[in-house]
């Protein structure tokens, strides 16, 4: 007898491949979590904590039936980011999250991946709404939320590792599908 963990689907966009996170993503994630850029998502973090974060991303799929993908730059096979639906225990509501690895900023990758992830959440997971949480000082991420058509809500969400975050509400499915 065994538990067969849920299949994790692969999505493709013009320039990106959204696939299951795996052991090959540990090194680029370590680089990201060792850097100051990770300060908006609970970093900086040690290799041990990064490994557990990676394991947690994969485990989210098993417990929720969905989770975030490794966003691979299709042309190079490099890890460009981690994007997708996220709603662990204690989260305020179902979220679309995005982290961009070092050196992949300014290419529109987060936008491209987040649109694909939102489409998946609305069409495959049948979400009727979605939020994105953005750390208070993370202006680049807030700008991305606005580019995706989100509007900011009045309330904020405070998390013990991520600090206080702004709450952006995505357009409804009928507006973006």
């Amino acid at each position: 007898m065994s538990f067969g963990a849920q299949n994790i689907p692969t999505l493709t966009t013009e320039r990106l491949t959204l696939r299951a996170l795996g052991a090959q993503d540990f090194a680029p994630l370590c680089e990201f979590y060792a850097s100051d850029r990770s300060k908006f998502v609970g970093g900086p973090a040690t290799a041990e904590a990064t490994w557990r974060n990676l394991a947690g991303e994969i485990g989210h799929w098993a417990l929720r039936g969905y989770g975030r993908w490794a966003v691979e730059e299709t042309a190079t096979g490099k890890l460009a980011g981690v994007v997708g639906p996220w709603n662990p225990d204690g989260w305020p509501e179902a979220e679309l999250g995005w982290d961009l690895m070092n050196g992949f900023e300014g290419k529109g990758y987060a936008t491209e991946a987040a649109r694909a992830a939102r489409h998946f959440a609305y069409t495959e997971l049948n979400w009727t709404t979605a939020i994105s949480l953005v750390a208070i000082d993370n202006d680049a991420s807030a700008a991305l939320a606005l580019r995706l058509g989100c509007s900011e809500e009045n309330e904020r969400f405070t998390h013990e590792r991520h600090g206080t975050m702004r709450v952006f509400r995505h357009p409804n499915p009928e507006a973006v599908i």
């Binding site: 849920q6 299951a20 795996g22 990064t50 557990r52 394991a55 947690g56 994969i58 417990l63």
Partner: protein, 173 residues
Amino acid sequence: MTTYTIPEFSTDRLLLRAPKLADLPRVTEFFASERSHIVGGPLNAREASRAMMQIYGMWALRGHSFWYIADKATDIFLGWTGIINGPAWDEPELGWTVVEEAEGKSIAFEAATAARAYAATQLGYDGVISYIAPQNSRSATLAKRLGASFEREGELLGHDVHVYRHPKVGAAA
């Protein structure tokens, strides 16, 4: 598509299986208790659920991790055991933790024996170590009962630990 499998098997009284959402209240209760400080607690509900997610991911990343120990008759969560080998670990470790109600019934012994045999025969990890906090005399007693012996003092994630070495159990186990 990516898939991975968590093997499940039973012993005389126990089931070693994948975590389930239904276990979460008991897991959270454990992590809220003083007892959990040996394994990084106390943790709140959301961190407890995160620990559960990480067990799944470790199976996917490494092909081994912890099983939840459940009562074979009732399926009630009693603790966990299995092989962990994080970046900070010296080598694969056999770990075990049981809830208070499972103390004194040889449950950790039964589960850890089965996990150790699985590691030796199915994973190729034989003669593994266990990290034990110096003040955790119950766990040291269990390690000795499992036939392990004190090897050295060590350090793990900023804590002093005692490293116990298990005997090779091989295919005979």
